[in-house]
Symmetry: C2
Subunit: 240 residues, 2 copies
């Protein structure tokens, strides 16, 4: 994750639409927002908060307190600059370093971070521990079809048009190396059994399972129609 | 489904290991069996019972009554011949023709049938209606990665060895034509959102989500190691 402290990568990340324009520019937001529980008075933890868009959303919708942690000092600095609010605390910490105090939060969020984590079950246990009974865990993780993609890239025809999305070694969870924003990135492939079965085995109840589809309004953007050809993100809502 | 009344297809089906040797020859059984609730005294419905192996299992493990329905008269005849038991009734009926009496069953099973059904939500509603509160719905459906496979076949190299499994048009649920046992078969692709989200929206609680992997003991069988390269079946346990 220290990749996000690399200047060149960080600059490329900063130019992504979702970095510049926030939640409204994220193709999955129209599905993620309705999954948020009511924020009024809630104590919220955001694991891997990035620029803090979701922290800001929680604060703007009445959260009593929001703690956003991110392993990248640059990212936390950017969050403090762009998405500060009295209810929000941003802190540099990774998921190994954070102490996950017992029953201290009503809601735990995590957006596009868990596919960098090797041991998902360990995180599930920590989140379970830090949520109050009845508390909500809402996350967005790269879809197993995406992380099991060979080099996480389309097979293309001679003109460069996508032919199909190649899946292989699905039942071999673990590191997958790909190129993201011009840099080599290692993600972790998890099977659906690990992602959803893991939650159930930890003791969570599943409340929603949704694959992110771009909204119709975005389908004219370059490459967006191809997003209907294979799933990229899985949105999951679970309750302790 | 009337395909199973076609003599040539039925004969080819009869030669499959799982047809000849039953549950023990099915690569997913080692995962499906532990998901069965205790059968003692239960009223069990099997949707698409085929040869009746699961009905027989339920009866052998103490079910009070077992009703197996299948759209194919040939299949029901074979079930009566191979897997009869005093507690079991076999009946020719498809999912549209069956009346799903209210709260009449404790357990509903369905093995490798729901991917032939276009409107999964309609079936979920009927199953919910026919289960008593607290009753269990256990099914095995072809995995979305499998049903979204282009022609449901590997891309192969010149020697015929699988290179990768091609996924396309994932977010276009509906009919997919493939060749199974030498016959053209139309299956229905459902997204994971439809399969799992649909259960949650119907009111079910999810209890288990497991992708079927062949047991180590079968990995030396021809082609079986390739089954680790993409998921074929999804096992789901839900409770009303």
């Amino acid at each position: 994750m220290q990749l996000y402290d690399d200047e060149r990568f960080f600059d490329a990340y900063a130019r992504m639409p979702r970095s510049q324009d926030g939640l409204a520019a994220a193709g999955e937001w129209h599905q993620l927002e309705p999954l948020f529980p009511p924020m009024t008075g809630q104590r919220v933890l955001d694991l891997g908060c990035g620029y803090g868009w979701h922290c800001r959303y929680a604060a703007d919708h009445g959260a009593a307190s929001v703690l956003g942690i991110d392993a990248s000092a640059r990212m936390i600095a950017a969050a403090q600059e762009r998405n500060a609010a009295p209810a929000i605390t941003y802190r540099v910490a990774d998921l190994d370093g954070f102490d996950f105090p017992q029953a201290a939060f009503d809601v735990v969020l995590s957006n596009l971070v868990l596919h960098y984590i090797e041991d998902l079950t360990a995180v599930y246990r920590k989140v379970y521990h830090t949520l109050r009974p009845g508390g909500c865990f809402l996350f967005n993780i790269e879809h197993p079809v995406f992380t099991a993609g060979v080099h996480q890239e389309w097979i293309r025809d001679d003109s460069g048009a996508p032919l199909y999305w190649p899946v292989d070694q699905y039942y071999r969870p673990g590191p997958r190396t790909t190129v993201f924003l011009g840099e080599t990135v290692t993600k972790q492939h998890h099977t659906l059994t690990q992602i959803l079965g893991g939650l159930l085995q930890t003791g969570f109840q599943l409340k929603a399972v949704e694959e992110a589809m771009p909204p119709k309004s975005m389908l004219s953007l370059p490459g967006m129609a191809d997003e209907l050809r294979r799933p990229m993100m899985l949105l999951v809502k679970a309750v302790r």
